[in-house]
Symmetry: D2
């Protein structure tokens, strides 16, 4: 059974900061946000975790393998190098969606995202090192079939983007509502989903849903592992298999 | 009348690179992509331009104020510091959507996004310095009303994200189809749209559309200027006015 | 005659910040400092300027081509993205050393580097756009002859470093005392000097001085230009000539 | 007894790359080098290691706590995000200087720093996890007494730099020749030295040497630990004690 550890990363009181004393240059906000995300991605990644940029002011990490000390170090490093600070809240469970509900609730209980007095909260309890298993994380790497030939080389860049975005919107909502999964756009035509124990049939149905709702053809590779990196790398290799075999769903190791 | 200059930034042959010789670590791709975006944001921003991350492998810039030499320098700087290269294609026109159609078509004519022989294309013609005016760029900065109280502090982080994302999806498609505008999520609950000459009534209608379709309440500040920065900073101040007056649309200077 | 514009970049009240409330992690300080430097290098570089890291808390830029507005934008961008702020002070003159004396004195007159009330000073007057000429900047790019064969591949890494460092120390002091020049280590075995109108004989004598004092063989390429980039790129090409012709000094355009 | 693990980080075939096909913009090289360094500092730092920029094309890390897999990951991450690759060579021993001799020799045995066929070497053997002790690393954090009042606020910025640089040159050579230590400038007026088991008397003598040779007054805090971070943070606290007590040498824990 999966046991996903998620971490909610929330910038402290960020909205007010962006307009104090007057609105800040958008290009600087964009640079600051994307670099902060890049740093989190490396910091969690050095410990085999994944971070998704989500809204940039609220980012979601899959953090199996990072203990409280690791989290505290990331928090300190941001404080030392950025004009903003972050709160971190950890949740765990068989369902990624539920784990995030738990993490969010704990943080909300400490105060609002725009509470000037709530800074650098560090909440929740990571999974014990001894209880970690190879089944803890399941990751699905979705990819649009021939995005280059169908969209990028055919439509104007914004229309391509709208199509992929619609496929993404359909997928993320379906995977959340039907499958307790958290799906994230990771650039290009790729979506990575953190899932509970799903079956190949679940994935086939999701792919069909996206085709029916948004008219976008996708395929998926699925991997398992003790960490997001292990599961995610498995998923990438499975996706390569799916490309080669022209199949819709590939799971490694085979279930 | 507006005269928007857009630049399509396309990573050259990026898809194959991500899986050669075998799939690359996702955290490294995420870091590389977001830093490349951050650098473009600063580089264009130093000349008062805006860049949006869009798909990360295809980014869209509003580049009024950057000439061909500026573009060439950005291209060279990326080549000197990243393992990937970028092609740049410029389009111009009263309609931002049409300008991007032009820019995309020119690049597609040079070869596929995944053509190994098409590298560092630099296409299109910037607006002549002498013909630039204060009306060239119109930018609308949309923002969800009380996102913190309605979503962030109330729902779990993913559900908040889904709501904002749905508002965004509805807005971006409507603004594109009805108003030839290019709208981009810029983090948090903010969307920035590059528009032709739209009226306050157009914006009111768009806001109503989002409320009806996605159930999300938004407001907007609109600015004009010779550059994206000037227009965008006007829009931010107008948005502050809208917050203060609790109005839905504010335009500066008043039309 | 040269007319060098230098900008002193000083972190405001940085010493106290590094130990408040308690000493900060060294790796974070190192990261923050080197990224701040990298950003300044890009920001000045987009306008054809050069920045040298020097002490990191006091950096020296050659800023011909950047006006006050450009400086203000750099200052604002740092403020928006870093936990520290910078003061900027501009000096100009035929002698780079004197220009820096002027810039430093102006900043010192505003208060100490560790005065908590002196923040984001912006001082001095750039060279008028109309008076700029192709002779304004002279840059000399010094390079150790066969550093790889003599040091890197032969000695242990620290001893190699000590030798190059000693050559550098001898050169920087000599060029300052005898030739009013500002010389900076730029990595590897390279030193870039910003000079007044020096003759090939001056450079030969400097090279001899370094050979006699530190036992290190160097050669130099010298360029002129309206901007640091133009002069510096000339110097690099001249250095390539020197490598090819196995000469000690090459100047472009030939004097 | 100390047991220092050092890692030599060497950019592969970097010299030729900087001038192929023609000399690259200096500001881009500066940015690339300093960001590469910043990333290494974070990557090693997440595991409690230290990296010093040294020559930028040859960097020296104190890497107690990082095993071969950690090194391989750093190497891979650089390859995925930069246009250059790095070789890594590990050496260990009671003497930091000797450990680096070992690391350098191993790398040189694989080929020249400018050998196009030698890429991404990963050499040497880290210290076994079980044999690590609290005495493994000794770090001395040297600092100029009242650099602000004596130099920064008094002299022009270049003369201040020359004075600090001379103190540094005297210290680094003395600590290497007399004490088998590796000393590095870390910005401002600070030097960090990685040392074998030295006594307070050794440090007093070094400080005297710098005062006599270069006329620069310095003090030092010394720390021990299982990792560079632990030892270095001890040294920082000891330095704060030295500042408070106006002593020249403070060691924690007291010997
Ligand atoms: N984040 C991420 N993005 C990727 C990865 N692989 C590809 N991409 C993105 O996906 C885009 C499209 O590449 P591909 O999926 O290879 O191209 P395609 O035309 O859809 O071809 P097929 O997927 O093989 O049918 C690229 O430009 C990248 O932005 C990956 O592993 N991670
Ligand atoms: N890119 C960008 N994001 C912003 C800006 N201002 C705010 N945000 C984002 O918007 C989020 C929400 O902040 P606000 O919009 O101030 O908060 P709110 O609760 O919706 O309050 P009101 O908008 O005042 O009703 C922040 O966390 C930021 O991520 C901006 O100027 N640019
Ligand atoms: N900042 C900077 N560093 C450079 C440049 N060119 C080379 N280097 C550095 O110099 C180091 C040594 O390279 P080279 O100077 O080409 O090698 P060499 O063995 O001394 O050979 P020759 O100089 O040709 O005699 C490289 O590792 C780089 O760190 C440059 O243009 N700028
Ligand atoms: N790398 C690094 N640099 C530091 C640290 N602390 C201070 N500095 C640098 O040292 C410079 C001078 O600061 P201080 O040493 O506090 O100032 P000072 O005037 O010498 O005062 P005292 O040292 O207290 O006599 C700062 O601008 C920083 O660049 C540190 O912990 N690490
Ligand atoms: Ca695809
Ligand atoms: Ca809002
Ligand atoms: Ca050389
Ligand atoms: Ca000091």
């Amino acid at each position: 059974m999966t046991n996903t550890q998620v971490t909610l990363v929330q910038l402290d009181n960020y909205g007010p900061w962006t307009v104090t004393p007057s609105p800040r240059r958008e290009v600087d906000l964009q640079t600051m946000q994307s670099r902060l995300y890049a740093d989190l991605s490396q910091a969690f990644g050095m410990r085999d975790g994944y971070v998704f940029f989500t809204r940039f002011d609220n980012m979601i990490a899959v953090s199996n393998g990072l203990d409280l000390e690791d989290h505290a170090r990331v928090q300190e490093s941001i404080r030392n190098r950025y004009p903003v600070t972050v709160s971190l809240s950890i949740g765990t469970g068989a369902s990624p969606a539920d784990a995030l509900v738990e993490a969010t609730a704990a943080l909300q209980a400490q105060g609002s995202a725009q509470d000037a007095d709530r800074r650098e909260a560090l909440l929740g309890q990571p999974i014990d090192e001894e209880t970690r298993t190879d089944d803890d994380v399941q990751i699905a790497h979705f990819d649009v079939v021939d995005a280059t030939g169908t969209y990028t080389d055919e439509l104007d860049a914004y229309s391509s983007f709208v199509h992929i975005e619609q496929g993404y919107a359909a997928l993320m909502q379906h995977m959340h509502d039907a499958h307790d999964s958290l799906s994230f756009f990771v650039g290009g035509d790729n979506i990575i989903a953190v899932c509970p124990d799903l079956t190949p049939a679940d994935y086939e149905e999701a792919i069909e849903h996206v085709r029916d709702t948004a008219g976008v053809d996708i395929r998926v590779g699925v991997g398992h592992g003790v960490s997001p990196h292990d599961a995610g790398m498995g998923a990438k290799h499975a996706l390569e298999d799916a490309r080669e075999h022209e199949t819709e769903v590939e799971v490694v190791p085979e279930p």
